[in-house]
């Protein structure tokens, strides 16, 4: 029940900001990230709905400055001023989390491995639990780490590979590249399908 409560608090707090009305600039976002910020499997466009406003705002700033590299997003982010950017971030943070788009077909062994990496890590690879930073059930920690629960597996896997290969570096202390470099293809498939399978609006079963 803890997770449901946390979600309600988020929605309650943002309700006052006028969640229902998208800022006009959101039309640009909707083309790829969906009308409700649900993301798009094709092209690994992440879900934005319910993600922390702080995280979304920082990513937009990083796209604009080049700290995070993506040709499409950089061009868009450069066109936003501070006010618009934070309005968009707050809007997407306030949106209710939609049902998952993907139906992952993880094997039992994959699900177990994904769960293990998320909550416990792997001593043999010197990888700590993802949830240490990303919060219980990957629900995110507002000012430091994005929510992973219910995120598209295709997006998460693409990002882990970017961290691995040096294509993404915009975290604190190069922590994600260090962690991602220890994961193999099977780990990435397992852990991303695990997080994608967590419905962000209901508690994960253990």
């Amino acid at each position: 029940m803890k997770y449901v409560l946390a979600t309600l608090i988020v929605l309650g707090a943002s309700g006052a900001a006028g969640a229902a009305t998208p800022p006009p600039e959101a039309a640009t976002c909707q083309a790829c990230h969906g009308v409700h910020g649900e993301g798009m499997v094709d092209g690994a466009k992440p879900r934005l709905a319910g993600q922390s406003a702080h995280y979304l705002d920082k990513q937009l700033r990083d796209f604009a400055s080049g700290a995070r590299d993506n040709a499409i997003m950089s061009a868009i982010a450069k066109g936003l001023n501070d006010q618009t950017r934070s309005r968009l971030a707050a809007y997407y943070a306030s949106l209710p989390i939609p049902a998952p788009l993907e139906h992952t077909s993880a094997t039992a062994a994959q699900a177990e491995r994904g769960h293990q990496l998320a909550i416990e890590g792997a001593e043999g690879k010197r990888v700590q639990a993802c949830n240490n930073c990303h919060g219980p059930d990957g629900s995110g920690v507002a000012l430091s780490a994005p929510a992973l629960a219910g995120q598209l597996a295709t997006y998460l896997a693409a990002q882990l590979k970017l961290w691995q290969q040096g294509g993404r570096k915009n975290d604190a202390g190069n922590l994600m590249s260090s962690v991602a470099s220890k994961l193999d293809e099977a780990d990435i498939a397992a852990v991303t399908s695990y997080y994608a399978s967590l419905s962000a609006s209901t508690p994960a079963s253990h």
């Binding site: 416990e120 890590g121 001593e123 010197r126």
Partner: protein
């Protein structure tokens, strides 16, 4: 009857920082090594993972990682006229237990001592004259110099990946580092951790007073690092759960992160946990160890024969192991004769609290155990002690190790100790206070020592260690002087109220101060005032080596771990290049 096991080359008693480093060196050199650990195995995954590892009640209050003092306490008294009583709750100091030892719950503050510290008796006499010191003090030179240890400090820091900024590279002073440090051969392996806001305030104020602030060397790493053993470590996330906790991120350097995977993979090494070593066994001449006797978790007794026995226990347990084994003459404070238990010392910790208005936001919870900003201008012999009536000093630092809700609640004097008034004050000051740590040296004196308790026994029927200790006048004067300097910095930060709390006697075991117990098996060049020689080899039983902060003749102004790491590699070198090729006394007694 003890079951006699097959003889091995080396038995290591205690598989903590010292034991795991030494065992790795000797196993890699081809020797058969058995490591005996009284606690359990434990690793970053799964034992140290969140959220369980952040249980403040379990780890801070109930001391889950510490030596089990329902079975194996220590007795304590301030003076030899008193009766020692068992410490039933660890508070003043926190000896750990289990694989990785006390280092699992350390803060990562990784210092070198200064050249002066290793020749303290000689240099103090030279600088201040013969009659300068209180005649009760028993200061001694170490028998080893900084220059001899420098390569080993370097090796230890690169093993850990320590994050810091050099202040003296081969004699060249480096801007931004500690100008008082003794020369180092190269910079730290990783850059300093980020400075938190209290550190930034301290830096500015200390600079304005003409002091020399620098980032505290930290083994909570500032960036990913692969050490010379090939082990990868991660970046610290400033979670604020270092001291008293284990790290879940592979970011705090502990045996689990920097050496154990390599050691445990070596077939020459065998780890046995749940083994309570009762004594080191001697032959009839009492000049040669034949091995050790231990009792396992099932209560079975074993004799493990070995050619070489290395005791690598926490300082106070090293003393006890020698006393229980009859190695070395126990110290007698009445006559000043004997050596084992002599020169027990500690650390003289003071604090300065600077209370700000509510518009100054400190966020103390964003912390690592060693992400401080500090000065050494009043540490060691870095200032003139003429006319001051004491020797030694303290580092002063805004060392913000945590903002944990049970442990951290600074309030100004006059605050009620409980109830609404206390709660209101905690809320008011929690996020608007800067705490300085004043980490003071500790001299040894005749009256402070350790011996076996005449009354109390452990769960196996063996006498407990008894500590007799109070703060020497020298150190209380030092605390007074250095705390006044800390208060000046607090005022220069612009705090509304600055409260200095110099350490006062009598020493109490009921308040946390620091886990830096030293002495009792001290090293030196004179067998009448030291237990071990400069290679930490027993003068009396040359196939026994005793490695720990118990070797320090007195304690310096910094945390002891860096120096212990250097000594460990110093001994490893002596074992491999000298002793094991030709066993015998490395220094003739």
């Amino acid at each position: 009857m003890a079951q006699r096991l097959k003889e091995v080359d080396v038995v290591v008693i205690g598989v903590g920082m010292v034991g795991s480093i030494l065992a790795k060196e000797l196993a890699a050199a081809g020797y058969k090594v058995v490591g005996l650990e009284r606690g359990t195995t434990r690793f970053t995954v799964p034992e140290f993972q969140s959220p369980g590892i952040h249980d403040e009640l379990r780890f801070d209050v109930r001391k889950a990682l510490m030596q089990d003092n329902t079975r194996e306490p220590v007795t304590f008294r301030n003076h030899s006229s008193e009766i020692g009583l068992p410490i039933r709750r660890w508070e003043s100091f926190l000896p750990g237990t289990g694989l990785g030892g006390s280092m699992v719950h350390w803060n990562g503050q990784t210092f070198r001592f200064q050249a002066n510290d290793f020749e303290l008796a000689t240099r103090t006499r030279e600088r201040y004259g013969k009659g300068f010191l209180d005649p009760d003090l028993t200061l001694q030179d170490w028998g080893v110099t900084y220059d001899e240890l420098e390569p080993h400090y370097d090796r230890f820091e690169y093993l850990l990946g320590t994050s810091g900024k050099a202040g003296n590279l081969k004699g060249q002073i480096q801007p931004g580092g500690d100008p008082h440090e003794s020369p180092r051969s190269r910079d730290y392996p990783t850059p300093p951790q980020k400075e938190h806001y209290s550190g930034a305030l301290f830096r500015k104020a200390a600079s304005s007073l003409g002091h020399h602030p620098f980032p505290q060397p930290s083994s909570n790493l500032s960036q990913p690092y692969t050490n010379p053993e090939g082990l990868k470590m991660n970046t610290c996330v400033f979670c604020g759960f270092c001291e008293r906790y284990a790290c879940e991120h592979y970011a705090k350097s502990t045996p689990q992160t920097f050496i154990l995977p390599v050691l445990l993979a070596n077939p020459n090494f065998e780890l046995r946990t749940g083994c309570q070593v009762q004594r080191i066994n001697l032959d009839s001449s009492k000049k040669r160890a034949t091995g050790v006797t231990y009792i396992d978790n099932a209560g079975r007794e074993f004799e493990q024969p070995a050619s070489l026995v290395i005791t690598c226990l926490f300082a106070i347990n090293n003393i006890r192991m020698l006393l229980l084994s009859g190695i070395g003459k126990p110290y007698d404070p009445a006559t000043g004769k004997g050596v084992v238990g002599r020169n027990y010392a500690y650390q003289t910790m003071s604090t300065v609290a600077s209370f700000f208005d509510e518009d100054v936001i400190i966020n103390p919870f964003m912390a690592s155990g060693a992400s401080g900003t500090m000065i050494n201008d009043f540490a060691g012999d870095n200032f003139d002690h003429s006319g001051l009536g004491f020797i030694g000093g303290a580092f002063i630092g805004a060392v913000n190790t945590n903002g944990r809700p049970i442990q951290y609640h600074p309030t100004p004097p006059g605050t009620p100790a409980w109830g609404k008034g206390w709660k209101d004050a905690v809320i008011k000051h929690y996020n608007h206070t800067v705490m300085f740590s004043l980490h003071g040296s500790s001299v040894s004196q005749k009256q402070n020592y350790a011996d076996l308790d005449p009354t109390y026994k452990d769960a196996w029927g063996q006498p407990l260690l008894r500590i007799t200790f109070d703060f020497p006048k020298n150190d209380l004067k030092m605390a007074e002087y250095v705390t006044a300097r800390g208060v000046e910095i607090g005022k220069a930060m612009g705090a509304k109220q600055v409260v200095g709390s110099p350490r006062k006697g009598p020493y109490t075991t009921q308040q946390y101060q620091t886990t830096h117990n030293t002495g009792g098996t001290v090293m030196g060049n004179d067998p009448s005032t030291s237990v071990v020689n400069r290679y930490l080899q027993s003068w009396d039983v040359p196939n026994v080596f005793v490695i720990g902060a118990s070797a320090y003749p007195q304690n310096a102004s910094w945390n002891p771990t860096g120096t212990l790491g250097a000594l460990t590699y110093w001994v490893a070198d002596a074992l491999k290049s000298k002793y094991l090729r030709n066993p015998g006394h490395l220094v003739s007694p």
